[in-house]
């Protein structure tokens, strides 16, 4: 009986302590965990043998194949108050060696005049919007839209304003709610310099460039898909593809022209064509808004250029 009463009192007291926010169980930050303050670095005691640096954070997790990206690796069990690295024992000061008779100091060699920093090589323009149908580089601008149930989609037309092309399509219902989930897209296609909708294809050799610089926006969605199209264009979309995170404000995005950034979608059959080969025959660049929810989905594209 006495024991039960005592435990009860202790429990109530601990509950009060908890309710006052002195233990970490929710509440705001200041009332959360006991939160020991990181100890200021104390004066290190010289260790006779330098201990290895404590490594509370293990090596990053190696990414399983084919994952190219190990995640950042924080400490698995971080010490609440990580011990500062012990200072290594200072090496004993070697006895000074008698200095030999100094040789005459040679005259300093005048530093060569530094070469002027070369100006950065400018981009090569690929497609600069001129109007709703053409680019400054003599290429065409086109649009297309697709949906798993085409009757649910209404496509607009390409408009030009302030150096950008805009295209949108709307869905009357969310195709994501169908079973299996459907798909849709609204896309702008900007052809390579000198390539028109009706002319003979003359693909652009972009294999010598390292980056693609593109100006993108969408007022309706956060991601746009970029596809590097050959001639003839691949209607199934099985071409090198990148994704970009965009906003309603036109912004410049620079994408590496490498396999990490541009990969053929996983739903496609295995391809033996290398990115270098795709780039050597670049016919057009598609920018797609793949939004499939009900409502409007737009894509805005400004200038596209290639960076050496």
């Amino acid at each position: 009986m006495d024991t039960k009463i005592s435990l009860g009192r202790i429990g109530v007291l601990m509950g009060l302590v908890a309710s006052l926010g002195l233990v970490g169980c929710g509440g705001d930050d200041s009332a959360a965990s006991p939160a020991p303050t990181p100890a200021p670095t104390p004066a290190p005691t010289p260790a006779p043998t330098p201990a290895p640096t404590p490594a509370p954070t293990p090596a990053p997790t190696p990414a399983p194949t084919p994952a190219p990206t190990p995640a950042p690796t924080p400490a698995p069990t971080p010490a609440p108050t990580p011990a500062p690295t012990p200072a290594p024992t200072p090496a004993p000061t070697p006895a000074p060696t008698p200095a030999p008779t100094p040789a005459p100091t040679p005259a300093p060699t005048p530093a060569p005049t530094p070469a002027p920093t070369p100006a950065p090589t400018p981009d090569t323009a690929f497609a600069t919007p001129l109007d709703a149908a053409d680019t400054v580089e003599g290429g065409s601008v086109a649009s297309y839209a697709y949906a798993s149930t085409a009757s649910d989609q209404t496509a607009g037309s390409v408009t030009y304003a302030s150096g950008t092309e805009t295209f949108s399509a709307s869905l009357s219902t969310s195709l994501l709610l169908s079973n299996p989930p459907g798909f849709a897209g609204a896309a702008l296609r900007l052809y390579a310099p000198g390539n028109t909708l009706t002319g003979t294809a003359a693909p652009f050799n972009a294999s010598g460039f390292s980056h693609l610089r593109v100006h993108l926006a969408s007022t309706t969605d956060a991601t746009l898909t970029i596809k590097l199209q050959p001639s003839p264009v691949a209607a199934d979309g099985c071409v090198p593809t990148a994704q970009a995170l965009v906003s309603a404000t036109l912004s410049e995005i620079v994408i590496d022209l490498n396999d990490a950034s541009f990969a053929v979608p996983s739903y496609c059959p295995a391809s033996t064509t290398t990115l270098h080969q795709w780039l050597a025959g670049l016919y057009a660049i598609d920018v797609i808004n793949g939004g499939a929810t009900a409502g409007n989905h737009d894509v805005v594209v400004g200038s596209i250029s290639l960076v050496p």
Binding site: K4, A32, P34, T53, P54, P60, A71, D221, A248
Partner: protein, 232 residues
């Protein structure tokens, strides 16, 4: 009744700090980050990290920004920065306004983490900016199995976050007017409480580091964090 109260009180007393509390830090002031909220790393992780986390590389800039710096003045002893919350969270919305670093071969991040990498205890939800701040790497690890997706992004300030719920994780960007737009969702059940972490580090040019971050050719600089917010 008394026994019941005792049980309640003891449970309250010993429950881990695992709630998605309404945590916020605007990183106001100067000096170091709030020590009651954040633990500052001061150690070396080893490969593939090419730097040592140091107290000296973490500070409040006095303009409501947290600086996580990379100091490469000594190329053979590069210093970098990392902080983590003392408390752990379970579920909630995690949002940050930041300007990622732009060092090639570096990573500036905002993520949740628990466990030991390489073991089933490892769980993690990531927002990482790599490739000079031009690539956003999103990832969720459950029992050391990852599911990632990358996006090309513009450099500069942005507000971005993720929402962690019992059956999914979704990532979203936030416009200047405060409108959230989802850009990725993974249906997954991660249940283990995790600490919130921010870091800015460079790779050591090992194969693993190059594969993920690219090549680090030297150079330093800062990643800036305006605020961090966690809500239910």
């Amino acid at each position: 009744m008394r026994q019941f109260l005792t049980a309640i009180a003891l449970a309250a007393s010993f429950a881990p700090a695992a709630h998605a509390t309404n945590f916020f830090d605007g990183f106001d002031g100067s000096g170091g980050p709030n020590g009651s909220s954040w633990q500052v790393s001061n150690w070396a992780n080893g490969s593939p990290f090419g730097c040592t986390f140091a107290f000296s590389q973490v500070w409040l800039a006095g303009n409501s920004n947290l600086v996580l710096n990379v100091d490469s003045s000594n190329r053979s002893a590069v210093k970098c920065a990392e902080i983590r919350t003392w408390q752990s969270f379970t579920y909630g919305k995690f949002v940050v306004r930041l300007q990622p670093g732009t060092i090639a071969g570096a990573d500036s991040s905002f993520f949740l983490y628990t466990g030991t990498a390489g073991t089933p205890s490892h769980n993690e939800i990531d927002i990482e900016f790599i490739n000079g701040g031009r690539t956003l790497h999103t990832n969720v690890w459950k029992a050391d199995v990852q599911n990632f997706q990358q996006f090309a992004v513009a450099t500069g300030w942005r507000t971005i976050g993720f929402e962690w719920r019992p059956t999914y994780v979704r990532w979203f960007s936030v416009s200047d007017s405060g409108v959230e737009t989802e850009f990725r969702r993974v249906n997954i059940s991660v249940t283990t409480p995790m600490q919130l972490m921010l870091n800015h580090w460079v790779g050591d040019n090992s194969a693993s580091a190059r594969n993920f971050l690219g090549t680090y050719n030297g150079g330093g600089g800062a990643a800036y964090y305006d605020w961090v917010k966690v809500s239910d």
